[in-house]
Symmetry: C2
């Protein structure tokens, strides 16, 4: 298979976990009926973006991989014969929680789990409180639609993550995301941030000669009453890019499903005209593992 019909589910948050899960299922059914064989949900689609505050009570939102969310969604994947990328606030133990992506194969089995490696922490995005950084190795997850380089949100700012996935054979980079504007920023700053988000990810596609899917949530979510910030206006703009960074499909700032037909074989052609991997100076890259070169 070289062409993969992809669907990106760009939703706003509902008023309960049950309603979010039901909305995801409805959208997945419709996307599959429209021909999608790889369907990607946005980051932490089961709930509001709870990281707007540091609140111990929010750990109750976490689930194990054999919990309700993955069980329900993997059964649906098996019914529809699709590959599904789920995002999960994962309870790995009572002591360790992760921001994880679970990839489900067409038969409903778990193809693999990726645990977010780069964890942000800035006003309104207090993720370091909740999520232990992943202890994995940036390894793609093999599925019937190809080797998926699944990463999560903040990872998308790191060329290292994309590169390691590509070096390990990822045929498609996938970023479930929850990113938005601070309503206190002016529109010029908001536009720069959105452009930067689109651009840096398109850059990963280009530098590695691989297509890429980014799936974001949309809609305003208010900050908790005691917070110092105004809440987050999630900016949607979920998109699919080809291996030259070209936009294949892109959502507006509204609830929707984005369909994109991604030709995995084009990477082969693009990497022949732009053979970047041939010329990497691996003899001179050792200091990439330093914190700062001082």
């Amino acid at each position: 298979m070289t062409t993969v019909n992809c669907a990106l589910i760009q939703h706003r948050c509902r008023d309960s976990h049950a309603n979010n899960l039901a909305a995801s299922c409805t959208a997945i059914r419709r996307a599959a009926a429209d021909g999608a064989e790889l369907i990607v949900l946005a980051e932490l689609h089961g709930s509001a973006y709870f990281c707007q505050s540091e609140d111990c009570a929010n750990f109750a939102l976490a689930e194990t991989i054999d919990g309700t969310s993955v069980t329900t969604l993997s059964a649906l994947a098996a019914e529809l014969r699709i590959v599904l990328v789920i995002s999960l606030f994962e309870r790995r133990s009572s002591a360790v929680y992760h921001n994880s992506a679970v990839v489900v194969e067409r038969d409903g089995s778990i193809a693999g789990v990726y645990r977010k490696m780069h964890i942000p922490d800035d006003p309104g995005f207090y993720e370091k409180f909740y999520f232990t950084p992943g202890d994995g190795t940036f390894t793609p997850i093999a599925t019937s639609v190809g080797k998926l380089g699944v990463l999560v949100c903040w990872d998308q700012w790191y060329p290292e993550a994309a590169r390691l996935m590509a070096l390990a054979g990822a045929q498609l980079l996938i970023y479930p995301t929850a990113i938005g504007w601070d309503p206190a920023d002016d529109s010029a700053e908001q536009q720069r941030q959105l452009d930067a988000w689109l651009t840096v990810q398109r850059g990963h596609a280009i530098a590695n000669g691989v297509p890429l899917l980014a799936v974001n949530r949309v809609g305003f979510e208010a900050a908790p009453a005691a917070a110092a910030h105004d809440g987050i206006e999630f900016w949607g703009n979920s998109f699919a890019a080809g291996p030259q960074g070209e936009i294949l499909a892109r959502a507006a700032v509204e609830e929707c499903v984005v369909h994109a037909s991604v030709d995995l074989h084009r990477s082969e052609q693009v990497r022949r005209i732009w053979p970047f991997f041939r010329d990497r100076r691996i003899d001179a890259y050792a200091e990439l593992t330093r914190r700062w070169r001082d």
Copy 2:
């Protein structure tokens, strides 16, 4: 100093080395008169892009760092009190030639030399025949306008190069370049290539929170009679980007000088709202020095 007035000299090739050098001097004088204090020339501005063929006779174009080009241009830099980035086909010895960038300080002294690390080789761009890959360490060059992360052309496709420069304290990434279209490609492919070139470099600015200058040549240069390709239409589009990847100034496909005022202090602000360096997983990046993770 936090704001640097930059000028990017985007020229087409003249009919002789002397005329190219004279045209560079004229443009530099005008740019300095217009307030530029950092002026950047395009890659191999002294000659046609001779790498369209593999011809031993072209080694006669090479010069040492104390040759005519650098001597002339450094005297001009001293006269005008500017920092100047020169590109040079460098004869390091009778056995070793490089594609180098020479940075000249306001007093005409050599601030540093960067020798291109990533060397391309594809139809019409036979650089591996001419240029020994640099044996340096991606170290910025300290000048009176800041620490300059000088890289050259093909380097611009490598996130590793930009990252290593930023980790070593580069305040501004600078790419002298010679890139263009194959006239045999259709306009959609040409547009994708130009967009990719702009995007991947803007991505480096974003990922590292630093501004960036890219300086290209412009105009059609025919291939040698025996070549299998049609020549190169150099695409201009020299540009300056800020630390969020925002375009500060950009040239059209014509001979011109692009002026841009670059605020180096903005990196400090941008890196505080997007503190990417804080969260790099240096414990998990060791395999970036592998050729392929197989």
